[in-house]
Symmetry: C2
C-alpha cells in the first residue's frame, strides 16, 4: 500500500515558490465561499511520526483565516472523556456548517496504537475501525466533506528525518524517546495502518496517501486537494439534486489556470523506482531457474497435501513477458495441480453479471494453483483507461478488489500478484521483433500499438493500483522485466518464498 | 425489532381473492419488462421456521414464469463447496441481468445457525455479517435490486403452526425433530436474527420484516413489494443518471389502480396490540409507586458507585403523560445524579451540525442518569411526518440511531426507551381539560391541535420506528397510558428492572 509513497517525490524550492501565491489566494477564496455553505469540512491528518502532519496543519492555519478553522490534536483522554463513549470528544469538537476542522490523528490514534502495542486483538481492532467508518459515514451522509491524508515516510527516511531533527537545536524537542520507540515498531505500525486504511477507505471518505519526505511536495499536494474538494462540493451543492451530490463529490473540479494534482504527480511513479538495468546472464539463469523449479515442485506437492491453494496473478505491459514467466512456473508442476486462466474480453454470460463473477467461477479447489494471465485488475487498468468502466465504477473497484482478496486470504488461499514492468523502449523493440519474426507475428495486433499510445495514462493507473491494492495480505511484487531471465527468476523465487512462508503458518 | 411482526396481521380469503388476479398479471408484466433490463433481481427469504418462506417461494414460481427465475435453497456445503470461500456457491448461483433469483436463507443461514448453537463467538458472527453486507453492497453497487424478506412468527404462533402441521397428514413431513429443537431455541434465534438484521439492513438492501402467520397477508405483502421494487427500478433506470439510481431506488412507484403496501398495512399496527383498558386504582398505585421509587433510589446509588450510566428516552403523543412519568422518576433521585433534557426545536448552534450532535453533547458522565423528554427519535417521527427531513434522511436515520445506541451500550450505558401511548379519544379529553384549567392552559398550543390531525401518519411512523429500532440491546417499552397511575408504575418498574439486570451483569 505504501510502495507508491516511498518513491522520493519532491518539488524544488523554485517550483514551490512559483505555485504558493496563487494557491494561498484560492484557498482563502474557497474558505470565504464555504462560510455561506450548509456543510462542514473535516480534514484528518494521520501517518508516520515526522512525516509532516503537524507542520502541514500549522501552515494551513497560516495560509487561511484561522478564525473559521477548528484545529484539534488529542492526547490521552481526560477523566471526563474516559467516562463517555470513545467518539464523544470528537463529536463535541465537530465544526459547524461553513467551517473547517483540522484533526490530528484523532479517532484513528488509539485504535492503531493499541493494535501496534498488541493491547488489542484483531477482532477488537476491526470493530473499532467499523465504528470509525460508521462515524465518518454519518458525517458524509449529512453532507460533510471528509478528507483524510495519510502522511507517509519509509523506514529509512523516517530515521533520517529524526536524526536531522536531533542535530538541529531548534527542532530537537520534536524527537523523544517515544519517537525512537515508535521507529523500532515501524513494521508493525505499517501493518496496522495498512489495515486501517483499507477498512476505512470508503467512496465518500477515501484516504489519500501522501509521501511526506519533501516539505514542498506534501504541502502543495495537500493544499491542492483541499482546494479542489471544497470547490467541487460548493459547485455541486446548489445545482444538483441533494441526493446525487455525495456520489459525484469526489471528482475534482478544475479551473484551466490551476495547477492540478495530476500535473504535480506527473513524473512521480512507483514504477520509476525499479532498476531497469537488472539482468542475469545465461549460466546463472539456468542454474537459478532449475533450482527454483524443483523447489516449486516440492512446495506445490506439500501445498496439495495440506490443501493450501494458491492464486497467482500476472499483470504487465503488452509484451512484458507474462506468458513466458507463467510457462516457467507450469513447467515445474503436475498438470492436474494447476489451471491457467487467460483473461480476455468477457463472454456474454459473464458480461450479464457482476465483473467479479467470472473470477469467482475459477477459484481453485483446496490444494490447487490457479494462475490468472491478466485478472480482475483489468477493472482499474484497461477499463479505467479506455473508459469501459465509469469513474465511479473503477474508483469503487479498489475496495471491492481488496475485499475480494481478503475473502480469499481469510479462507486460507495464498494470493501472489506480479506486475511485470518493461520500459517503453523495450516494448518498442519487442513489438518490432514480433512484427518481423513469422512465428511471433500473431502476438502483435493493432490494439497493442493503440495501447502503447496511452502509456502515461496506464502508468498513472498502475501507480494508483499499487497504492490502493498492495495490502499486507496480498502485496504486489513489481518485476523488472527488461531482461527476461532476470524477470523469470524473480517471479519463481518470489512465488516459492511466499508459498514457503504460507506453508510454515498452517 | 419483531414486536411489529407479532400483531396478528391477516387478510380475509375474500380480500385475498379480490387482489390476486391483478397482482399476478402485474408480476408477469414486470417480469417481461425486466428481461430487457441490464440488472438482476435478487430476492432473499429468511426467518423463523414455518413462517412461510418456502410456500411463498413456491407460489412466486407458480405466479410468474419460472423459466426466468433461479430458485435456490442450500443444505450443508458439499466437499467442492467447502474447499472454496464461503460465498463461492452463492456467487456461482447469481442470476444474470434480466432474471430473478429467489434465495432461501442462503448466505444468512450458517452464520445465524452457528451463532445460535454458540459455535461462533460474537466477533466472528459480526465478521460474517460484515462480509455479507459487503457482498450485498457489491451487488447493489453493480445495479442489482436486492430485496430481503424476514418472515417472522411469534414463539406461540410458531408452536401453533408446527402443531397444525403435525395434525395434517399432508403437511406432517414438514415437522422434524429439528423443528422442535429450533423452537426451543427460539429466544436465542431471535437475538441472533435481531443483530443480523440490524447489521445488514443497508440503504440499498434493507430488510423488510413480514408477519408470517397469515398466508394471505404475507403473500400479498411480498408480491406487492416485489412488483413495486422492480417496477420502480425499471422506471428509474433509463431516465435518471446511473449514479443517482441506487439512492432513489427504494422509493416505491405506484400506479393509481394498484393496491399499495400502505393500504394493506393500514389497520395493522404495533400500538393496536396494547390493552388500553389497563388501569390501577388509588391505593395499589400509592403502594406500588412508593415501592418502585425506593427501589429506584437504591439502584441509582449502586449504579453511581459502579459507574454505570443510564439513558432513559421518553416519546409519546402530545399529552400522553411523559412529563408526569419523568417527575415520578426524578422524585426518587438525588438531584446531583440526574439530568432531564427536554428536546424542543434545535438551537442555531445545533442546527449547524449533524442532527445527532446535540444528543452526543448531553451524554452522562459515568454513574449518572440522563432523561430525554423527546429525543433523537424526532428524526423518524415529527421530522418524517412534517417533512422536515427528506425521505432519504429519515430512512437512513434508523441505521444511524441503532448504531448510535449500540455505541452507547457497548460503552456500558443502559438505554431504556418508552413510548407512552394514549388513544385519540383520551388525547381529546386531555386537550379539552388543558384548555379549561387555567394552570394547564400553557401546555396546549395550536400546534398540538395540528399534530392531532396527522394521527394516522404518526401511527405509521411509530410502527416503523418500533419495528426498525427496537433492538435486543435497546428495546422499546410500549406503555398503555390512558390510565396515568398504571403508566407511571409501568415506567418505574421497567426502569428498575432494566437497571437491576444491568447491575447484575457488570
Amino acid at each position: 500500500m505504501f510502495e507508491a509513497a516511498e518513491v522520493g517525490r519532491t518539488l524544488s524550492k523554485t517550483q514551490f515558490k512559483a505555485q504558493v501565491p496563487a494557491l494561498r489566494e484560492e484557498l482563502l477564496q474557497v474558505q470565504r465561499e464555504l462560510l455561506k455553505a450548509r456543510f462542514p469540512v473535516i480534514i484528518l491528518f494521520a501517518g508516520v511520526d515526522a512525516a509532516g502532519k503537524g507542520e502541514t496543519v500549522n501552515l494551513l492555519n497560516e495560509w487561511m483565516d484561522p478564525h473559521w478553522i477548528v484545529t484539534r490534536g488529542y492526547s490521552d483522554p481526560s477523566d471526563e472523556e474516559r467516562e463517555r463513549p470513545r467518539l464523544w470528544r470528537y463529536w463535541r469538537d465537530l465544526p459547524p456548517h461553513g467551517h473547517m476542522g483540522l484533526f490530528l490523528s484523532a479517532w484513528y490514534s488509539s485504535p492503531i496504537r493499541h493494535r501496534v502495542a498488541r493491547r488489542q486483538a484483531m477482532a477488537e481492532f476491526d470493530a473499532a475501525l467499523d465504528e470509525i467508518a460508521a462515524f465518518e459515514r454519518a458525517l458524509t451522509d449529512d453532507g460533510a466533506v471528509v478528507l483524510k491524508f495519510w502522511m507517509h515516510l519509509g523506514k529509512q527516511a523516517q530515521k533520517k528525518r529524526l536524526k536531522q531533527f536531533e542535530r538541529d537545536p531548534l527542532q530537537r524537542w520534536r524527537v523523544t524517546k517515544q519517537s525512537w520507540k515508535h521507529w523500532r515498531m515501524f513494521d508493525r505500525f505499517v501493518t496496522a495502518a495498512d489495515r486501517a486504511i483499507r477498512k476505512t477507505s470508503t467512496e465518500q471518505a477515501p484516504w489519500q496517501i501522501v509521501e511526506g519526505e519533501d516539505h514542498h511536495y506534501r504541502t502543495i499536494v495537500v493544499a491542492t486537494a483541499i482546494r479542489d474538494a471544497i470547490r467541487h462540493t460548493l459547485e455541486a451543492t446548489p445545482a444538483a439534486a441533494p441526493e446525487a451530490a455525495p456520489a459525484s463529490r469526489r471528482r475534482r473540479s478544475r479551473r484551466d489556470a490551476d495547477i492540478t494534482l495530476e500535473q504535480i504527480e506527473q513524473g512521480f511513479n512507483v514504477l520509476d523506482k525499479l532498476d531497469m538495468s537488472e539482468h542475469l546472464s545465461d549460466q546463472p539463469f539456468k542454474t537459478a531457474i532449475e533450482e527454483q523449479q524443483s523447489r516449486l515442485n516440492l512446495l506445490q506437492r506439500r501445498a496439495s497435501a495440506k490443501g493450501v491453494s494458491t492464486i497467482a496473478v500476472f499483470e504487465g505491459w503488452d509484451a512484458a513477458g507474462k506468458g513466458g514467466a507463467i510457462r516457467r512456473i507450469t513447467a515445474a508442476l503436475d498438470a492436474r495441480e494447476y489451471q491457467v486462466i487467460p483473461i480476455a474480453a468477457p463472454t456474454d454470460e459473464e458480461r450479464a453479471r457482476h465483473y467479479l463473477w467470472r473470477f469467482w467461477r475459477h477459484l481453485p479447489r483446496a490444494g490447487r494453483m490457479t494462475i490468472f494471465d491478466r485478472s480482475w485488475y483489468g477493472r482499474v487498468l484497461v477499463e479505467r483507461v479506455e473508459g469501459f468502466a465509469t469513474e465511479a465504477e473503477w474508483r469503487r473497484a479498489y475496495a471491492e478488489i481488496t475485499s475480494f482478496e481478503e475473502h480469499l486470504v481469510t479462507h486460507g488461499i495464498l494470493v501472489v500478484k506480479f506486475w511485470i514492468h518493461i520500459t517503453k523502449e523495450e516494448q518498442l523493440k519487442r513489438f518490432r521483433e514480433r512484427a518481423h519474426v513469422a512465428h511471433k507475428r500473431w502476438k502483435i495486433t493493432e490494439e497493442d500499438w493503440r495501447n502503447r499510445k496511452k502509456w502515461p495514462a496506464y502508468t498513472r493507473a498502475v501507480d494508483e493500483m499499487v497504492a490502493r491494492t498492495s495490502t499486507s495480505v496480498a502485496p504486489w511484487t513489481l518485476v523488472e522485466g527488461n531482461d527476461k531471465p532476470f524477470a523469470r527468476v524473480k517471479v519463481l523465487t518470489t512465488l516459492a518464498e511466499r508459498m514457503e512462508h504460507r506453508l510454515k503458518h498452517i
